[in-house]
């Protein structure tokens, strides 16, 4: 078997590749390791929970409405730490840069990284740079890794029946923004990426109530995140379509293209399962932060094994993990 692009698209096909790549015996340093494929690893050290994670970032185009590759690279890692309950402490950054890349662009990227770090009090403390021939690479690749400290570790598999499902804001903004910008669509108004470092928001939520599970709906979108949480927790979830927050522009853009905004990436959102009695206070805490203004309770954890959406017209449909490109099915 040779690796193809579908292997990177998330979903079942990517699972095949992951099985190969994660086939390690030495995969756990005493806490939560690679085997659980959570947002990050946890290493207990002297009574502290050290959270550790890494991510590679490529995005086309590298500058887009609402952000750039630098902001994504920092936020991706900070958010993965935050999803484990970890306060981000320090990041590393490895850049692979193609020959001919504009230094001015590098300066913009680094400034944007610095701003994102500043938003949550983290620091970028070490790094590495490689320059490759034009023929070997046609765009910049930014890797970040980060460590954080979690007072209480939050997993993605901790949902229990009765929990409320909360999303911290509008869904699908990043994916649709990138696509519109890259493909040159004019939807009659600019759609901006939501890319943002979530620790300050998550910190408020953690202080407000009992959060059982968290995940950031990045690749594969909300559909992928919610299914993974349900599967790993061994529960079913019912989502109310009418309660899902969407930006009108995102909804209409997705509608014009036949895309499902639940299946495209977000870079500044969190999906959480919250104990029912704490749901309102956690929601209030989220809404008190600018990045959580549009937070909403969108569903509930039930017995079972499927994620089902009650539609606005009174029907029900499954929310399924995307398998890459959508395939028409209407006869």
């Amino acid at each position: 078997m040779k690796v193809n692009l579908m292997h990177g698209a998330g979903g079942e096909v990517m699972g095949e590749l992951l099985r190969v790549i994660t086939n390690l015996e030495h995969n756990n340093a005493g806490g939560i390791g690679l085997e659980s494929l959570d947002d990050g690893a946890v290493i207990p050290l002297n009574g502290q929970n050290i959270v550790f994670t890494t991510d590679n970032h490529v995005v086309s185009p590298i500058f887009f409405p609402g952000g750039d590759i630098g902001r994504i690279a920092v936020c991706g890692t900070i958010n993965d730490l935050a999803m484990m309950g970890g306060r981000p402490i320090a990041l590393s950054c490895g850049m692979v840069i193609p020959e001919g890349f504009e230094v001015a662009d590098l300066e913009r990227i680094v400034a944007s990284m610095d701003a994102a770090l500043g938003e949550c009090g983290a620091n970028l403390v070490t790094g590495d740079t490689k320059v490759l021939e034009r023929s070997a690479l046609d765009t910049i690749v930014v890797n970040t890794a980060g460590i954080g400290v979690a007072e209480r570790v939050v997993r993605d598999n901790g949902l229990s029946v009765g929990d409320k499902i909360i999303v911290s804001g509008t869904i699908g903004d990043h994916g649709i923004a990138i696509m519109a910008h890259r493909e040159g669509f004019d939807f009659g108004g600019q759609i901006r990426s939501d890319v943002a470092p979530l620790w300050p928001l998550v910190e408020k939520a953690l202080a407000a109530g009992d959060i059982h599970a968290m995940k950031d709906p990045t690749r594969g979108g909300f559909a992928n995140a919610i299914n993974e949480m349900a599967r790993k927790s061994g529960v079913g979830i019912v989502i109310e379509e009418a309660d899902l927050p969407f930006r009108a522009s995102v909804r209409s853009a997705a509608g014009m293209l036949g895309l499902d905004p639940l299946e495209v990436a977000n870079e500044g959102k969190v999906v959480m399962g919250v104990a029912p009695h704490d749901a309102e206070t956690v929601l209030a805490a989220l809404r008190s932060h600018p990045y959580g203004r549009d937070a909403a309770i969108v569903g509930e954890v039930v017995e079972g094994s499927h994620v089902v959406m009650r539609t606005a017209i009174g029907g029900e449909r499954f929310i399924e993990p995307p398998v890459g490109d959508p395939v028409p099915r209407v006869c």
Binding site: M179, E183, G184, F185, D186, F187, G188, A253, G255, M256, L257, G258, L259, H306, V308, I313, G314, G315, E316, R317, F318, E320, V323, D325, P326, V327, P328, R329, V330, C331
Partner: protein
């Protein structure tokens, strides 16, 4: 000359009055012995001088029975006094449960016999008629294993039940007003309405109320023609044609009924017949097509209702959200129907198995359900046991075991949790009734179908082998097992090459069907969105300034149009398809006949109605070769339609010509494929084949080329044949 023997009769012999029939014949020919029901066979021990005559008589069976084989062996056991009917036993399960059948003429006469014991009784039935599948829990079919078990018979019914001379001798559904299920008329809030339920319901319907009526296999929603507009608004289905139930005289007044159609209309299966209206534009609130779906009353309740009703016609649509299972349960009806209906006419006989009305057009089955299913077909597919889980839309399931394939009634669109659960329930129930232990489970090739997911789950639980079959190959497998050129024309199905097929010509013999020709592969901008909005298909196929102008003139905003143009340019979320349905949709869009599809097949059906009055003319057809396949250019056909339309051509003539030339092109490719390979026959399947003009053009072209033309009238042409085709295909693949 034999004077004794043990006779084993196999087939559908349960619930069809077989034992009383044998009993009556035994008396007629002076035979002593016993008769016993063993599930799918009856065992008769018989002795008497006129044994041979008796054997010949019982071998003919009863009206509802279906006999597969009759075996005679030496008499087992000793001789007995007289002739007795023994209790049923569950034996082998290769036979099957009879389907629900319409009330017979004798029972109708009973209901309207003044002073008779069945006068006015809604659930009157006998051994020759009434519900079967819908009330059965397990087989063998006996009252105690049906929902009639909750109604112990009164002495009068008991004496008819045990009287061998009576039509209700051993009729498991025997019931009368004293002992049987009763009726109630409720307001939508569940409170009862005083008075005779049928008379009151009829008066309310006449006055314009909308009434849910609990029938054999589920709830209908009924109203008069005048109330149709209100009903459509309440259901949120303003476009979809509704079926009607009417007196035979009224049906003849509305529609042109051929002898063959009249026979089917009056058959005991009593399907909805899609008939051509006498005046194509009449009854527009019921159907704005040139056709109308009509059925005759088929239960005692219906006959009593019409006897009390001033109107000769009622709209009768099944009570469900489109694509969801019909409501069978009163509790669910009370929860879901308020807001849609004003009253509920219900009975207290539990519906064990849901069963929608069957639908037939031109003798071809559109929906295989009440009266026709569970369908049982004798076919030799070897020793293995096979489950076909169907596609996603218009799904049902099929099970093969020991020489028979059983196909379930219509399940629906398996794309929501309720219908998936219904599919599962149907598979489990039929699997249980047939005693199936699967060796192989066959599913569609589409990676995301819920039915595929279900197939995987069953395979995992049972250890059965999984097999994926391409959708259109399943269509051909459902049509013939002979070597053929197979034409599959329908909506969309996942193809071998991960594009979306739907206008395909195959050659070979299952399981080796090579794709040899197809319609031009065209873009489907937005995937399923292009199915919902046919103007997207139109622009996908013809991305020209003229088409852009047409869309702009129809209210597309500059932004929407620019996004569509860009989407086609960039190929973002644009699928590639050779579907026939989508091409017809595009033509409907071009002619302004349908801008949004609100129900299955709407644009193509409206195109057919528009073409009905038109005169077809032959256009030039363009073919080319692509990857070893012959390809008919649909783009050039659509461009021709566009030119003629711009030049002020009549929409009906263009519609008729478009259909005619598309059909001619498909047929020509099939003929060439057959001649090249020396194959003597061409098979046709797929939902587009319901279109009379297209089907008959193909038939004529194939026959004119001296080839045999085959279609399967026993299974739907649309996706209701897929599970059967999957099973047949699965049975042809070596392990």
């Amino acid at each position: 000359m034999r004077t004794s023997g043990t006779i084993i009769i196999r087939g559908i012999v349960q619930g069809v009055g077989f034992r009383p029939f044998v009993y009556a014949k035994a008396r007629e020919f002076g035979i002593t012995g016993t008769v016993k029901n063993l599930g799918s066979e009856v065992e008769i021990h018989a002795s008497g001088d006129r044994f041979e005559e008796f054997l010949e008589a019982v071998s003919r069976g009863t009206p509802l029975s279906q006999i597969d084989s009759v075996d005679v062996q030496n008499l087992r056991g000793g001789k007995t006094e007289g002739f007795t009917i023994l209790e049923s036993n569950s034996g082998s399960l290769s036979g099957f449960i009879p389907t629900d059948v319409a009330i017979c003429d004798d029972c109708i006469a009973d209901i309207f016999t003044r002073g008779g014991r069945y006068e006015g009784y809604w659930a009157t039935s006998c051994v020759n008629c009434g519900p079967r599948y819908s009330i059965i829990n397990t087989i063998p079919y006996d009252r105690e294993r049906t929902s009639m078990a909750e109604f112990p018979v009164c002495p009068a019914c008991e004496s008819e039940y045990t009287d061998p001379a009576c039509r209700r001798h051993h009729a498991q559904t025997i019931a009368c007003a004293a002992c049987g299920p009763g009726l109630a008329l409720l307001r939508a809030d569940g409170t009862p309405v005083a008075g005779d339920p049928i008379r009151e319901a009829a008066a309310l319907l006449d006055a314009g109320s909308i009434v849910a009526i609990r029938g054999i296999g589920g709830f209908h929603i009924a109203c008069t023609e005048e109330a149709a507009g209100v009903l459509k608004c309440r259901l949120g289905r303003t476009e979809q044609p509704l079926a009607v139930m009417a007196t035979p005289e009224e049906v003849e007044r509305i529609a042109v009924v051929s002898d063959e159609e009249r026979r089917i209309l009056h058959s005991r299966e009593r399907p909805i017949m899609v008939l051509e209206k006498r005046d194509p534009v009449s009854h527009p609130t019921i159907s704005d097509l040139h056709t109308i779906g009509c059925m005759l009353p088929y239960t005692g309740l219906h006959h009593l209702l019409f006897a009390n009703l001033a109107h000769p016609l009622l709209i009768m649509t099944s009570a469900n959200l489109p694509g969801y299972p019909m409501i069978t349960d009163l509790g669910v009806a009370l929860e879901r129907l308020p807001g849609q209906v004003d009253y509920i006419l219900t009975h207290d006989r539990r519906i064990v198995n849901r069963c929608d009305d069957s639908v037939v057009r031109d003798g071809y089955i559109i929906r295989l359900s009440r009266g026709l299913a569970p369908k049982r077909e004798a076919i030799d597919l070897g020793k293995g046991c096979i489950l076909g889980v169907g596609p996603e839309l218009n799904a049902n399931i099929s099970i093969y075991k020991g020489g028979f394939c059983i196909t379930s009634p219509h399940v629906g669109n398996v794309r929501n949790p309720q219908t998936l659960a219904y599919l599962q329930e149907t598979a489990e129930r039929l699997g249980g009734l047939t005693g199936a232990r699967y060796d192989r489970i066959v599913h569609d090739l589409h990676p995301q179908f819920l039915s595929t997911r279900y197939a995987r789950e069953v395979a995992e639980a049972t250890g059965a082998e999984l097999l994926a079959v391409q959708h259109h190959r399943a269509h051909i497998a459902a049509t013939t097992r002979e070597e053929c050129v197979g034409i599959a024309i329908d909506g969309v199905g996942y193809g071998d090459d991960a594009t979306i097929w739907g206008g395909e010509v195959f050659a070979g013999r299952i399981p080796y069907l090579d794709r040899v020709a197809h319609l031009e592969v065209v873009p489907m901008p937005g995937g399923d969105l292009a199915t919902r909005f046919p103007e997207r298909m139109l622009y996908g196929i013809l991305p020209t300034p003229e088409v852009r102008d047409i869309l702009a003139s129809r209210g597309w905003s500059d932004i929407e149009l620019a996004v569509l143009v860009r989407q086609v340019e960039r190929g973002l979320n644009v699928a590639a398809t050779s579907s026939t349905g989508r091409v017809l949709d595009a033509a409907a869009a071009l002619l302004g006949i349908c801008r949004e599809r609100t129900y299955d097949g709407e644009p193509a059906m409206k195109l057919e109605s528009a073409a009905y009055a038109g005169k077809p003319s032959a256009w030039d057809l363009e073919y080319r070769q692509d990857g070893g396949c012959e390809v008919l250019s649909t783009r050039s056909l659509l461009a021709e339609a566009c030119r003629r339309s711009a030049a002020g051509g009549r929409a009906d003539d263009i519609a008729a010509s478009f259909q005619y030339n598309l059909a001619r092109g498909v047929a020509a490719m099939a003929v060439r494929a057959a001649e090249e390979r020396g194959i003597p026959r061409v098979a046709l399947s797929g939902g587009v084949a319901y279109n009379r003009a297209i089907r008959e053009t193909i038939r004529t072209e194939i026959r004119n080329a001296g080839l045999e033309f085959i279609m399967n009238k026993d299974y739907p042409l649309g996706d209701g044949c897929i599970s059967f085709g999957q099973v047949v295909y699965g049975g042809s693949v070596e392990e």
